[in-house]
Every structure is written in structure tokens, then in C-alpha cells.
Symmetry: C2
Subunit: 135 residues, 2 copies
DNA sequence: TATATAGTCTATAGTTTTAATAGGAATTTC
DNA sequence: GAAATTCCTATTAAAACTATAGACTATATA
């Protein structure tokens, strides 16, 4: 299942992508428009900023804004930041690889074999979609 | 993340697929061979049986066995039984569709758009793999 | 038919993750 | 310096996942 964090994060990014001139939009406005708990969204936007996807401005007239053009924001990046590894199992993860405790030999593991394909097909989708493609 | 339930279930199915003449194999043997908590595996095998993937035999010489040939067991079926819906979001699920509470119009939802592609690519993998392909 | 074997079922406990909330600190604008 | 707004940490609440316990049922076979 996709976490609400990711879902909300994607919606917020989409919303911000449509903003004219990248002017800062307040958390409250995004939350209201997208039906999201404001406090929860707050923490999501914060991680998006910390990971270089958003910029922010404090004080009156402040808010969040896209730091790059939607065409330049790959879904691989967004998904990794919000949802974590794209692989469903650490032993097939490109960026977060971990060996399984059980499972003596990866090569012959059926789970490994299947999940490798699933990872590749998901990557294929994420690599071929930028934020602009979702508008 | 793939649940341990699914992981263990897949391993058990793979193990059973290799058994000569489909003779019944005891839970304990599978659990030991695949490093799985026996009690947990017990409940997993039960759901696999209830969903028509395994047969069982009680008493001495009993155990679990594949009820169909590995070539005839599609990963779509296995994944749905063990992991649940293949879609990451109910609003793009074929078998478990649900409308989102938030989200006024599905057509324009960026999450919907992206997750539809992810679902299709995953389905593509699962439909093109039988248990036999994982051996 | 007695006994051991092995699956069946229900309940529950422990752990981890997710979702949401609370409250104040820091910064900017006017 | 007051108001607006993001920043940050901690905590709670709920849900899902993993695992365990124990009694019950069915079968094989000696």
C-alpha cells in the first residue's frame, strides 16, 4: 500500500507545480485545497524541502514553492524521498541493498527472482514520469 | 515492503514445487529448510490451502502438497492471496476497487495517474511468471 | 482400537509502522 | 515589536504485522 505520506506529498507537489511564477504557497492553503491534515502535511513538506525538492520562505507571505521545474523532477526521486526504497525487498534494492538474514543464496531465491522483475518494472515507470507528466 | 507472510509463502510454494510426485511435506520440514517460524508458516500454509493453491493430508505421512502444476500457478493469484491487492492504492485496483474519500475527481488525480501505470507494470510481471518460472 | 502423528482453528501478545497532534522556537515582514 | 509563518522535537493513538500458545480434529498404522 502507498502510505498517506507519499500520497499527500505527491498531491502537494502537483499543486505547487501548477502555481504561477513559483510564488510561495502556505501550508494551510495546500492542506485545505487537498483535504490533508495541516500538521501532517507540515512534516511532509519539511522532508521534501530537506531533500531538495522544495524551497520555503518564512514569515508573512511565506510558504513553499517548487525549486525545480516539474519537467526536471523525476518520480524515482520523489518516491525514494517519500516512500523509501522502490524495491519491495532489501535484497533487490539499488540504493538500500541489504542481504536477507534467512536465505542462504540469493541467486536461487525465488522471492529474489520475482522481486527483481517487479523492481525493474516499477523503476521503468518512475524513470519515465516527471512531475510534469502528472499534471 | 513485501510482508514476511508473502515472502515465506512464496518460499514454501517454491519448496513444494520441487517435491517429487507431489508427496505431502510436513510443515516442520518446510519451516526448518526455509528458516521460518513454524507456527507462523502454519497459518500461511492454511491460507494457501483455503485459497486452492495447496492440498493437505492429516496424520502420519501427512503434510502439504501442490494441488496444481507449477506451470499453472500464476503469480497474480499467489500475490493476491498472500499480499492482497496488487494496486498500491484502492482507486486503481481491479479486484478491490474503492473510491478515495478525499480526491474529488479521479481523472485528474496525479496519484491515480501514476499508480495506474505502476499497477499495470506490476501486473505485467505477475501475469508473465508462473511458479515454474521461479525455480 | 489405541496411539502417535500432523493439520486446524481461535485467541492473544508483542512489536513495528503509520498517522496525527501538540507546543513552542526561529525567522521574516510590516 | 507584533503578527505571520515555517521549523523542530516529542508524544500519542491506531493499525498492521509477526509470532506464539494451546486445545481440537482427523488419519495412519501397529
Amino acid at each position: 500500500m502507498l502510505s498517506k505520506k507519499t500520497k499527500y506529498g505527491l498531491k502537494a507537489l502537483t499543486f505547487l507545480a501548477k502555481v504561477k511564477d513559483r510564488e510561495p504557497i502556505q501550508i494551510a492553503e495546500i492542506a485545505k485545497h487537498e483535504n490533508i491534515s495541516q500538521k501532517f502535511l507540515e512534516s511532509i513538506l519539511l522532508t521534501l524541502r530537506r531533500n531538495g525538492l522544495l524551497g520555503s520562505k518564512k514569515g508573512k507571505g511565506g510558504g513553499y514553492y517548487l525549486i525545480k521545474e516539474p519537467e526536471d523532477i523525476l518520480m524515482t526521486t520523489v518516491m525514494r524521498v517519500l516512500e523509501g526504497p522502490i524495491a519491495m525487498v532489501p535484497c533487490v534494492s539499488l540504493n538500500f541493498y541489504e542481504k536477507c538474514d534467512d536465505c542462504p543464496n540469493e541467486e536461487e531465491c525465488s522471492v529474489h527472482k520475482l522481486m527483481l522483475q517487479v523492481r525493474d518494472s516499477a523503476l521503468d515507470v518512475y524513470r519515465n514520469n516527471t512531475l510534469a507528466d502528472l499534471l
